[in-house]
Subunit: 257 residues, 2 copies
Amino acid sequence: MTAPLIPIRSRDNAFVKDLRRLAQDSTAYRKQGRLWLEGDHLCRAALERGQRPAIAVFAESFWPAAQHEYGQAAIKNIVIDDALWADVSGLESPARMGFVLELPPAQAVQPGLATVVLDRLQDAGNVGSILRSASAFGFGQIAALKGTAALWSAKVLRAGMGAHFALRLVEGLEPADIDTLELPLLATSSHQGSYLHQAALPWPCGWIMGHEGQGVSAALQERATQHIRIVQPGGEESLNVGAAAAICLHASAAARH
Amino acid sequence: MTAPLIPIRSRDNAFVKDLRRLAQDSTAYRKQGRLWLEGDHLCRAALERGQRPAIAVFAESFWPAAQHEYGQAAIKNIVIDDALWADVSGLESPARMGFVLELPPAQAVQPGLATVVLDRLQDAGNVGSILRSASAFGFGQIAALKGTAALWSAKVLRAGMGAHFALRLVEGLEPADIDTLELPLLATSSHQGSYLHQAALPWPCGWIMGHEGQGVSAALQERATQHIRIVQPGGEESLNVGAAAAICLHASAAARH
């Protein structure tokens, strides 16, 4: 592998056009069969979890410094002009490197594996943050219902900070598919059930996290074996779903510790 | 108060220019002395907390439907063309209404009030989510060190979902200012101290949440009276700071319940 000497400078370059779509269009990975990881922290997390990128992409100004650490990480290196990078990047403060990875093959639900069920979550930052918490707290699987933000989009990958590569990720599910988890299902509620800090929590289990505005759907509420309340002395109407998920998943981990 | 009949259609309108800055530039509120709340859910949360907006702004297509519910909410109503709205909005999926509020007067640290200390947090979404958790779990004050994302920016307001109006918010602090809280200070740590779910937590207290990449600064680490670990059986390198904050603040609330 030799370092590429000629940075790409054309907006019309086919690779650059694909990359821009991958970075900015949340479902482009399905068409291209590839993922985009932007930023050295995230790229490092992917390497630490054994990923071997197809392509490493560097901003021209960063390539000299990055070459030593990342020059051998990918099968191929590509350098692009800094101005072009800013155009490609989906970030407000563009990072100066990223990896292109092959999209892993789609997976089916694995019964009995501790799972977080995502019920039509909209926000990529919330979804990524929940993946990160799931992985930290010993959950092995994410089961995302149809309507949830695309799990492998650049934004979710970024918020997940490598957790994607430690989890079994299943997308596009219907409520009935959740039965195949064969797990006790827990749903948070604002008005019924035990308080989380006093509840006996089963393990393994499936925690259901619901849509940011509408909460958990009726079809999944019915499937829940336990409803759990989070104590809120401040009386806010609701927590951010990423915050609620962190609290619940931590409680499951603490109960086993 | 009469409904305005003529929607603004010019990009060069002075109000529209100010609004665009307020929506998109995170520190514009300091120059303008005004805040921008976008989206009906957030606007409703502000009204529920007793806010009286100076101006309510509506997209032309939404005004007929919104008039009944929000026509009397603000001192003044302004309607703008839908295309212009998309240009003004800081959101990917622009909402169709927003409020302009006067910036509340700056406040000083109140000693003894349960507080979350933000040590140079960068991400507006994280900061807003922490404000929301703080309010939900009975904390009354946010003490933000210099270098933290601007608390009253449109993005932090949006992620805070009304929590701003239930908290005492202090910005621009130096580490030494934190001594004036006169509280036991708790900092999370990856390697020392008791596990959160086993720790005796003081009340009132100050929880210190650190920079997304660098964590809590040495100057604040020294001031911490207790270091606390979060159990992480999955062994991820770190949690999202908004997730970690939610877990810690909930633990304080649960300990008092």
